[in-house]
Structure formats: C-alpha cells, structure tokens
C-alpha cells in the first residue's frame, strides 16, 4: 500500500527518516535503512539537514525506491531558486518519487558552509502552492507542462513553538494552500501535543482542496529517539521548539550509560502507544537520528509489529 493510500485508509501510519551521508560511500546508511523495509509506510530523506552539505535528497530517494522503500523527498527552499525547485520537482517525479515534504530549511549559518548565500527565493507555503500547480499541469507562472506531476505534498509544523499563535496561523496557510499531511517537530509532552491537535483540528480543510480520494489533512507526530540524558539536555538548550521534560531526562540518567538507549526506545514506544490508543493523531514520524536500525524494536514495543 502506498503512503498516500495508507494515510487515506485511516490506519495509524509510521514514517521514519534517513539522512544521506557526506560523500559517496552509502554502504552504512543503506544497511541501516534495510531494517525499515516492509516495516514503515515511508522514509523521509533529509535535504542537506542542518545546512550541512551532503548527498542530494532526490538521489538518495531513488536509491530507496530501488530498494523497495517508499521515500518522502524533503525539499528546502534554502539552496535553490524557483527555477531550480520546479526543475528538481519534475526530475524527482520522473524518478518515481511521489511524496514531497516542503520546508523552509535551516539557515546556512547553522551548517558547514556558513559563507553560502542563502536563497529563500520562495518559502514553504509558496512551495506547497507550486506543487499544487505542477500537479495540475502548470508551472508556477501558469505555463503548460508536458506531463504533470502527481505529488502528495506535506509540510512541517512545530507544536511546541513559543509563541504558538503565529505558528498556527502559518499552519492554517499551509493547509489552505494544499498540504495533505504534516510531520511535526519532535514532541515529548503528549498533553501539550494534544492541545496543539485541538487547535489544528479546528481548521477545516479548504473546500476546493478536497480533491478525490483525499479526506482531510493528516498529522503525524514527530518523535526523536532519546539516546542519552546529554542529548536531551542538548536539544533543550539548542533546538528551538523541542522541549524534553525533566522527568524523561531523569529517567535516562537513572538508566545509566549502557541502558540509556534502551530507555529512550521505551519512552518513544510508550508515547506511540498512547498516541494510537487515544487516537490523538494519524500516525508518527520516527526520527532515530543514526539509529534507524532501532526503529523495528521501537515499533515492536509499541505494539505496531
């Protein structure tokens, strides 16, 4: 079943994430994602994540397709202008890529090429509109395409953004401009996430966007695997929009160095269980950050396998 069909079937959907390496040796990452095959509904491929230059997202998506794994192409607006983005979207389409996650992209200042000129010719909301046009046989200037794309376009949102209101306003714009699914920034406090979902569900889907076979915007809760108390503290300090509650940090600390990862797996599994049991959202997006091989264990403990 394709990712799109899985979302529309109404069952609890699971996606994971792979970050292509810097350099042409992909043996390690291929080995790691192998473990995801047949387990998750789709795998995101990051686009020069954190503005660190790596293998192109599109190329690695193609590798996943060849491995029998459905990819979600992450596409940021940092490195390409509107011509480059559209051209790459057409290119990804002919390679069989069907899902795109539209993002603004971390600023080059965060990465390893700080002197780069940031592009941001268009941004995430506008990119969603561009994909809508390409799906309808036009480029963003209204010129006819010889063959259109067939993308399921998604976007991101930060449920714990502070302040939340401007974030929600942008979320609403993304829905209105055609986002079909959302994968959120990492959440650890399920009560906070529930209250975000309360807001998010209030926005009705734009009537003209209710195309055939599509029944409402789908939201997958983003979950980042905690590997140590140090990592949790680091994210609290340096990653905007991620808040790891103190009791989880204490749990990881108490587990000690050897057991910390195992505890992290437990924490995520229990969050997934709760989200599914209470029907909070439509699925989860698991970011294992280099421990992709642990995803099946997480899913098993969450009762998904």
């Amino acid at each position: 079943m394709s990712f799109k069909d899985a979302l529309n079937s109404g069952r609890f959907v699971v996606t994971a994430e792979a970050g292509p390496p810097k350099g042409t040796d992909i043996s390690k990452i291929v080995h790691e994602v192998e473990a995801l095959k047949g387990k998750v509904d789709a795998v995101n491929v990051t686009d020069n994540q954190s503005a660190v230059m790596r293998i192109s997202s599109t190329s690695f998506c193609k590798i996943l397709i060849d491995m029998g794994i459905e990819p979600i192409l992450q596409m940021t607006c940092r490195d390409r202008n509107r011509i480059g983005l559209q051209s790459d979207l057409l290119g990804a389409s002919i390679l069989g890529i069907r899902n795109v996650l539209c993002m603004t992209g971390d600023h080059p200042n965060a990465g390893d090429h700080k002197e780069a000129k940031p592009v941001y010719d268009i941004e995430s909301v506008q990119l969603l509109g561009v994909i809508d046009a390409l799906n309808n046989g036009k480029d963003m200037m209204g010129n006819d395409l010889q063959g259109s794309t067939d993308y399921l376009q998604g976007a991101v949102v930060t449920p714990e953004a502070n302040p939340l209101e401007p974030q929600l306003m942008k979320f609403k714009k993304k829905v209105n401009v055609g986002a079909k699914f959302f994968q959120t920034q990492a959440v650890y406090n399920i009560d906070n996430f529930k209250s975000f979902m309360g807001h998010a569900r209030k926005y009705p889907v734009h009537p003209v966007r209710k195309d055939a076979g599509y029944n409402g915007v789908k939201i997958l809760a983003g979950l980042v695997l905690l590997k140590s108390a140090g990592m949790a503290n680091f994210m609290n300090k340096f990653v905007p929009g991620i808040i790891v509650p103190q009791e989880l940090i204490d749990e990881l600390k108490a587990a000690g160095k050897e057991k910390a990862l195992d505890t992290g797996i437990d924490i995520m599994a229990s969050h997934i269980k709760q989200l599914k049991a209470e029907n909070v959202c439509d699925g989860v997006h698991i970011m294992a950050i280099g421990a992709e091989d642990k995803v099946p264990a997480i899913m098993e403990r969450a009762g998904l396998l």
């Binding site: 940092r78 509107r82 603004t104 992209g105 971390d106 600023h107 200042n109 965060a110 940031p118 941001y120 010719d121 268009i122 941004e123 995430s124 909301v125 506008q126 509109g129 963003m140 991101v156 949102v157 930060t158 953004a161 502070n162 302040p163 209101e165 401007p166 974030q167 306003m169 942008k170 609403k172 714009k173 209105n176 401009v177 920034q185 905007p240 929009g241």
Partner: protein
Amino acid sequence: MIITKRRDVKELQENIKDYKSFFLLGCSECATLCATGGEPEIKALKEELEKQGKEVTGSFVAKTGCQVLGTKVELKKSSKEALDKADCILVMSCGAGTQTSVELFEDKPVYPTNDSLFLGNMTRMQMFDERCSLCGECILDGTGGICPITACPKGLLNGPCGGTNEGKCEVSSEIDCAWVRIYNRLSKINRLKDMEQIVEPKNWASHRKPMNLNTREKASSGKDKPV
C-alpha cells in the same frame, strides 16, 4: 542612510603602495554620521599617511558625495589644484560616493577607504540597524510596517519558520524573530487578518541590477528639461 565602516588597513595599504600623493574626499552626510568620512576621520587618515612618508595634497568634505553634479561643482571650486597634484584619490564615503569620483576623474586611480554595509537607521549615536533592503516593491502595508525581507534572515513572507524561539530568531539569539514582532504589532493594531493573507512569491524582477530611475518630465522638444 548608508552605513559604512573603515576597511581593513592592510587592504588600503596594498591599494596605495604604488602612489605617493593623495587627495582625501569625505562626505558630510552618512559617512560623517558613521564617523568614516567626516573632518576628524580625514584628519586622522592624513596623519597616518604622512607618517608613512606619503603626501596629502588636499582634502574636502563633499556635501552629498553620491550627488555627482553637485560634487563636481564643489570640487572644481574648492580643490582643483590639490586634485591635479594628487596621484590618487581616496574616497571616505560609501561605494556610491567612490564611484562619483571614478566618474569625475577618468584618468586617476580612486580607492575606497570604507566598506559599505547597508541602508540603516541610526538608533543612537554610532549605532545602526538595517530595516529596509530596498527590494523594489514594498510590502510593509501587509506586515504592520515591519519588514520581514530585511528583519528575517530568511526573508520569509508567510509567517515564522520552525526555528522561532521565545521571540528570538534561530539564526542568532541576538535577533528578535521578525514574524513574532509582526504578529505582536498586528495584534496591537487589531489587524491580525493581514497576516492571514497568503503572500505570493515576490517579484524579484522589480529589483533587477542595476536599478535606475528617471522621473524628469520630458520637454516637448524631446530633450530633458533642466531640474
């Protein structure tokens, strides 16, 4: 105003090593307020050069260094001889002022002593920040008067990115998130509905380099009327 700062001394040394005598040209507007091209800076540079055994044939503070015709007239009146004697002209204003001299002195080398940084607002004495990037098509009407093209490092047009962090920007904790500022301002003036509008991609063709503008009315003869 145009914000300038003094270039690295080493670069200037490299530029001027082949020349012996100099004319120093400052500017009474922005460069004076930035303390890069007023009387005190001219005096300091003169002393610096003389210490190195160079000659300063003269100096002048242009009223408005980017005003080509006005500067030409002023210099002709005040400094013709000193200019003739100099091997090289050092311009202590912005890049635009420097290029005024390049136009006026076809056969003399002209070097800038300053880096030109941005169009700035002066907040206090010697403190400047950038609020407008001269994008060619102003969108302040939809953003509560705060410019996201300039104040947001990504120039986002439809609201904050995921990096917004308790009112600060992901790029630096020293920058306030432009979109939180816009949101707060719009809610204060009761116009949050402006932020609900989906802003279309910007037309960067209206910012194509080099820009120029001519608003002079054409005389019936087809020739330009004098201003």
